[in-house]
Amino acid sequence: MIETIQVWLGGLFSFLAHLIDQEPLIFIRYFWLFFFFDLPRHLLSGCIVFMIEIFSPDRQLQLDDRREVIKRSPLVSIVIPAWNEEGTISQTVSSLEEQTYTHNEIIVINDGSVDATNSICQRLSRQGRIRYFSLRERSGKSAALNYGTQFCKGEFIVFVDSDSFFDSDAIGNLIGHFNDRRIGAVAGNLRVANSHKNLWTELQSLEYLLNIGLGRRVRAWMRILSVIPGAFGGFRASLVRASGGHDPGPGNDSDLTAKIRKIGMRVVFAPDAVCFTHVPASFYGFIKQRLRWSRCLVSIRIRKHKSVFNPLHRNFSSSNLLAASEPLFSHLILSWATLFYIVDMVSNFPLIFPYILMANYLLYLCSSFIEALIALALSDRKREDVSRLIYLGMYHPYIWFHKMVRIVAYIQETFLFSSYRDPFAPKKVRRNMESW
């Protein structure tokens, strides 16, 4: 075993030494995926955001502006759809009751739960802690959210998941961003609540820190943020109603965000509005979730909102085009590019392919390490996030595996319209959903 490793390492070092003697073009030929796709997408953009966040002259001004909104103290309606959430709904409500921003109402919608969710929520309602509404049968998350929206009295609506917990200043920090009248929606900063459960959750936690957390900062700065997460996102109530609320089916959060953007409103990210949410702890659960997310790219962004790509359309805007194009590039194209890269290397450099792979691993490890340092610098939980760095060694194999899952999802959705069979929406709704 040790001898084998020694042989491989020896081969790798020889390969690297050989590269040093080569022209730069050869270097790029071997590692074009990294240099043309991942390096600009992750590392360069991360560095730019870091510089902007740290050295922004308007930082204090922005904070003061946000405090003005909080001083005005508009009513915020927090809508929680719940389906069989007897284990977490009480904690979610308690977490929201602890918010420093107190002028809020909590609305819980029971989406036909068959466990003790109903009795728990009735008790909370009798105690005057929530406004509670119940649907007799499961109608799907979108219907539950729309039902709750009907009873919202607040100027702003915050949609959260029923298994999420929040920093005490999360709502206040979220709402503060509505100081700018051009802002229609604000995305909260998601972190993983069950990160220590197993390796899968640790890796997902790292992904939330790097790809999702840092990535959203980048997109928000570039004004191309295209998803307000369903687990924690704030909207102007008037816009939610004007846009018709949530449409049924998976991807309802990206769909609503797209509609908000089409109205002409801006969408921003609140890194200081922190929400902890649960991620799938099992391999199968992870696959199911990522397949659903990835299918939405095709069904929602390409099919349903294809008008954003049409420059002649009346709703066309360049920022919406970029916002819609970015995930196509970073998810769809990059995933296929990764597959194409592997095929390219295997077919053109079969003898040194293992060393190319190992060298890629080292490159990505260095890149993600720098990315992690940037995320740490911007994090408000540095001690906790430092401990995640020990999983960096497994991070990029995890990401490459995730890309393969995405490819499967894109094929499923393109040829089989699999999202219309996703149990995210109940059958009675799926049968009637509009197909794009």
Binding site: Y132, G140, F151, G244, P248, N432
Partner: protein, 471 residues
């Protein structure tokens, strides 16, 4: 109850209650006497009671009076009336108002077996309070009349909406809650067994059942609510109240809704307060007491179980014996006189063998107004009060009983004359300010005579060894 043995020379009595003309119209019979009034000396020979009237209210009133009297409650009662109705509550029979002597004799003989059964019950102890006597009479009534279960009946005049009509009569309980309290006491003592019949909700203010339960707005407590059905359109996911779907068109996507269950569903009902416009899923349920006007949440309503009662074996034993099995103490915690006599015998034997002293102390109403406050000192209530005060003064080894001649008699073992004086003074002082009066306390140091002789001396004012007065 008075000794049930009657003289063989006394004719049985037929007590008639009614108007003077009705009663006087009834002829005498050689084999029985028509009694027009109830007197204690006639108790033993009183075999049956007849109520003569055609007025149901009068009949009911007379029955109430009879059944509420401990001495008469168990005696067979028949009604003579020309009104054709089912037997009134608590009447044993109804007959046409024909007062042929032979018919009356036949009625008397018909109910004689029941009357003889009453004679088999033991007499009521004098130590029993009036309420306890009524409870005992009720138990005996249930046995005699073969009533298996005391069922509650709906009664709009009762605080709980239920009452026990004939239990109330016998318990002489004018307030409904006293009757229920008596039944509960008997249940707690194991004499009756309660069985669930119904649950009632009572006002937390006045305790009555007259509640109006209504749905109110959780925000402003108004009862002016509108109920809205909600429609969920599957295609676009819109959920809104029915009013928004005018012409069955979805307000979001403008498509027509055609088939329920296929295009859309009615997933819920919500409410809207017409006064404050608040929308909510479930209204609060509030109670308004019609009687006192108190408005409160339904959770604060007092829940009370209404029970039916059956006699337990212990209850039957108690009814026959007149006291609970194994009980040596009366209701007021005093020893039964028979038990006291036994105790006296044992203590006197010990005193004679060991040479120790033994004293008896009698406390009863005095001459300076104490007796003015109560009719006699022999009422159980007075005895109870005397016993309470004395218990605090006497020692643990001293025992007390209610003397049949009145007052409370205490036996103090290992007590010489000097100590008896001291105890007596302490008892007198204890009464001062307690009952606000001056009882008479006499004591006697035992010197070998019987208890009856001791009691004669204690009661005879001239022959008491010492009398202690309090000023």
């Amino acid at each position: 109850m008075v000794d049930s043995l009657k003289s063989p020379r006394e004719k049985p009595g037929f007590l008639l209650l009614g108007s003077v003309e009705d009663v006087n119209s009834v002829p005498q019979h050689p084999e029985f006497d028509i009694l027009l009034h109830h007197r204690e000396k006639d108790q033993a020979r009183l075999r049956i009671i007849g109520v003569i009237s055609d007025d149901p209210a009068v009949i009911e009133d007379m029955i109430c009076r009879v059944r509420g009297d401990c001495d008469l409650a168990l005696i067979p009662l028949v009604v003579f009336s020309s009104i054709k109705t089912s037997s009134p509550v608590m009447a044993d029979g109804i007959y046409p108002p024909v007062f042929n002597p032979q018919i009356l004799l036949g009625i008397l003989k018909e109910w004689e077996p029941l009357r003889e059964k009453i004679d088999k019950f033991s007499s009521l102890s004098e130590n029993l309070s009036k309420r306890e006597k009524n409870r005992l009479i009720l138990l005996r009534y249930l046995i005699l009349r073969g009533v298996k279960k005391l069922e509650p009946k709906r009664d709009i005049h009762s605080a709980t909406g239920y009452s026990y009509p004939f239990a109330r009569m016998i318990l002489n309980a004018a307030p409904y809650d006293e009757c229920e309290a008596d039944l509960k006491i008997m249940e707690n003592r194991g004499l009756m067994e309660g069985e669930f019949v119904d649950t009632v909700h009572l006002c937390c203010g006045c305790g009555r059942y007259n509640l109006n339960f209504r749905e109110v707005c959780p925000r402003c407590r108004s009862a002016n609510l509108a109920e809205e059905r909600n429609i969920h359109h599957f295609r676009c996911g819109y959920v809104g109240c029915e009013a928004e779907f005018s012409g069955m068109k979805c307000p979001k996507c403008r498509r027509r809704l055609k088939h329920i269950g296929v295009d859309y569903e009615l997933p819920s009902v919500s409410f809207r307060c017409i006064d404050c416009k608040e929308g909510f899923g479930d209204p609060l349920v509030a109670c308004l007491c019609i009687r006192c006007g108190k408005d409160f949440p339904v959770e604060e309503a007092v829940k009370r179980h209404i029970q039916g009662y059956t006699l337990t074996p212990e209850g039957k034993r108690y009814a026959w014996a007149g006291r609970e099995e194994g009980a040596v103490k009366s209701e007021s915690g005093l020893l039964e006189f028979g038990v006291f006599k036994e105790f006296f015998s044992v203590q006197t034997a010990i005193a004679e063998r060991t040479g120790q002293n033994l004293s008896l102390i009698l406390v009863r109403g005095g001459s300076t107004g104490f007796s003015d406050k109560v009719a006699t000192t022999n009422t159980p209530d007075t005895t109870h009060r005397l016993a309470e005060v004395m218990r605090k003064t006497l020692r643990g080894q001293d025992v007390m009983t209610a003397s049949p001649a009145g007052g409370v008699l205490a036996l103090a073992p290992e007590t010489s004359e000097d100590k008896a004086v001291d105890i007596s003074r302490r008892i007198s002082n204890a009464f001062r300010g307690n009952l606000g009066d001056t009882p008479v306390v006499t004591f006697y140091e035992y010197n070998g005579i019987s208890l009856e002789e001791v009691m004669e001396k204690l009661y005879a004012p001239e022959e008491a060894v010492e009398r202690v007065h309090t000023t």
